[in-house]
């Protein structure tokens, strides 16, 4: 087994009593002494600090960067306004999803954040654009996320100018004398920030944030339950190369201008498949799954209809601490995808009643100004 990488906050995690686990090639904190349940509820009530430095940060620079990146994603990058951020997907020739990512127009460059587990693949993909733009992995930077309804008031004491940001916008700011790039976004469904900071200053920034009375450190365990409650996809589970954005119910992420009748239609891998699916529909879709009983229904559980015929599978499932019930997401045949449809999930071989549910399970509370 190859050696696990460590983020710049590794020593701080140990000092805080984190339980470290291997994740995407890194040793990461899955939880702190408070535990997943308390960490989750704290983030929903106040604010949580997450180390997401394992994620890939990439800078694309040059006049052709946006045009070049549009060849890899079904998303409008060219018209992305200054300091605006957009969710995107790398697709393959079959219309399958290679990864999901965030793109921010930072003025003199595009700032891209990709999943840790897909980092090498995504960098190789982005490097195919090197004849048109400069591609640089920002491996010397850490990434912190501050999330929760009190994230803004905690942040205001350290960087008051960030309060003017609204959801999915960005700013380059000096925090504690350090050059940071901050977006108002996250992966919990709450208001919050993601802060790209030079690796050597990451620990002092994390300590400054943790010194705020609202802020507690939060591990990957609660990050997963928070994003599941918020109905957000986890790459490798809810989306992968075998699912298209249309099947994944991510139609909202496919920019109008890149669709079949758009001004810059197509021009990304799998465009023909995706355009056909938008026009003709798909045979299966990602939906929320609400177990009726107390037993969690987890990733991999088969979903059957009332005639015991398999019609889909769960791709993420567990317990939603904020609603104190099990929750899940998965794929079902389009005929069974209507909210309220009664199905059964096979849990340890036994059918458990579930219903197709509206996503998200917990209302998103982004700050839109």
């Amino acid at each position: 087994m190859s050696e696990l990488a460590r983020t710049p906050l590794y020593d701080l995690h140990l000092e805080l009593g984190a339980k470290m686990v291997p994740f995407a090639g890194y040793e990461m904190p899955v939880q702190y002494p408070a535990g997943i349940m308390k960490e989750h509820l704290h983030t929903r009530a106040q604010a949580g600090l997450f180390d997401v430095s394992h994620m890939g940060q990439v800078r694309l620079a040059g006049a052709q960067a946006a045009t070049a990146l549009e060849t890899l994603v079904p998303v409008d990058v060219l018209d992305l306004g200054l300091n605006h951020q957009r969710y995107a997907l790398f697709t393959n020739d079959q219309g399958g999803i290679l990864d999901d990512l965030m793109i921010t127009q930072a003025g003199d460059h595009l700032f891209v954040v990709v999943n840790a587990a897909c980092k090498e693949q995504d960098l190789a993909l982005l490097r195919t654009l090197e004849d048109r733009c400069e591609v640089k992995e920002l491996s010397d930077r850490a990434l912190l996320a501050l999330q929760g309804p009190q994230a803004a008031q905690a942040m205001a004491r350290i960087a008051p100018e960030l309060n003017r940001l609204v959801f999915m916008t960005a700013a380059r700011v000096e925090i504690q004398g350090t050059d940071c790039f901050v977006t108002r976004s996250g992966y919990t469904g709450e208001d919050g920030f993601e802060i790209s900071v030079p690796a050597e200053q990451a620990e002092s920034l994390a300590r400054a944030l943790l010194a705020q009375p609202e802020v507690q450190p939060i591990g990957l365990g609660a990050r997963d339950s928070l994003r599941l409650e918020a109905g957000l996809c986890l790459y490798g589970h809810d989306i992968d190369t075998q699912t298209t954005p249309v099947e994944a119910s991510l139609l909202w992420a496919l920019s109008k201008v890149r669709r079949a009748d758009g001004a810059r239609a197509g021009g990304f891998p799998g465009a023909a498949v995706i355009h056909r699916q938008i026009a003709e529909g798909v045979t299966r879709k990602r939906v929320g799954i609400q177990p009726e009983g107390k037993a969690p229904v987890r990733d991999g559980a088969t979903l059957v209809d009332n005639d015991s015929q398999p019609i889909g599978a769960v791709t993420s499932g567990g317990f939603g601490p904020s609603i104190a019930r099990p929750i899940a997401m998965g794929y079902v045949t389009t005929a069974q995808a209507r909210v309220g449809t009664e199905l059964q999930a096979l849990v340890r071989g036994k059918p458990q009643p579930v219903k197709v549910a509206k996503l998200p399970f917990v209302q998103q509370r982004y700050y839109r100004g």
Binding site: I36, G221, K294, A295, P296, F319, P321, P326, R348
Partner: protein, 128 residues
């Protein structure tokens, strides 16, 4: 360091067993096991009267993170299941050797084959 009562017997799969005066044994999971698994959210217990073999999967405890099988420590018949856990599975985290017990068994085996507290402490130390 987790708590390991000296009056109990233990399995390699982190169950504890207590001999009761009426001849039954009470079974639960150790402090180490509950700490590793984290916040409990669901418990599935064996039915009273079910005959079990030592090492057989007989219950499931689920934390926010994952589901874990519980293995029967001895051959025997289920005498009682801790029904209060259905509504308050977090009792396992709060009191693993007391109110968080899982089930009672009328054993057809004796407890000598199980580990004592010293042996279990060594096992825990080895997996840490």
């Amino acid at each position: 360091m987790s708590h390991i009562p000296s009056n109990l017997k233990y399995t390699t799969t982190h169950e504890w067993v207590r001999q009761e005066s009426d001849g039954t044994v009470t079974v639960g999971i150790t402090d180490h096991a509950q700490a590793q698994l984290g916040d409990m959210v669901f418990v599935e217990l064996p039915e009273v009267g079910r005959k079990l073999k030592a090492g057989e999967e007989c219950a499931v405890v689920e934390s926010v993170k994952a589901a874990s099988d519980i293995y029967c420590p001895l051959d025997g018949t289920v005498a009682e299941a801790n029904a209060t856990l259905v509504d308050t599975p977090e009792t396992i985290n709060q009191d693993p050797y007391g109110e968080g017990w899982l089930f009672r068994l009328t054993p057809s085996d004796n407890l000598d084959q199980l580990m004592d507290a010293v042996a279990y402490a060594e096992l825990e130390a080895a997996v840490e």
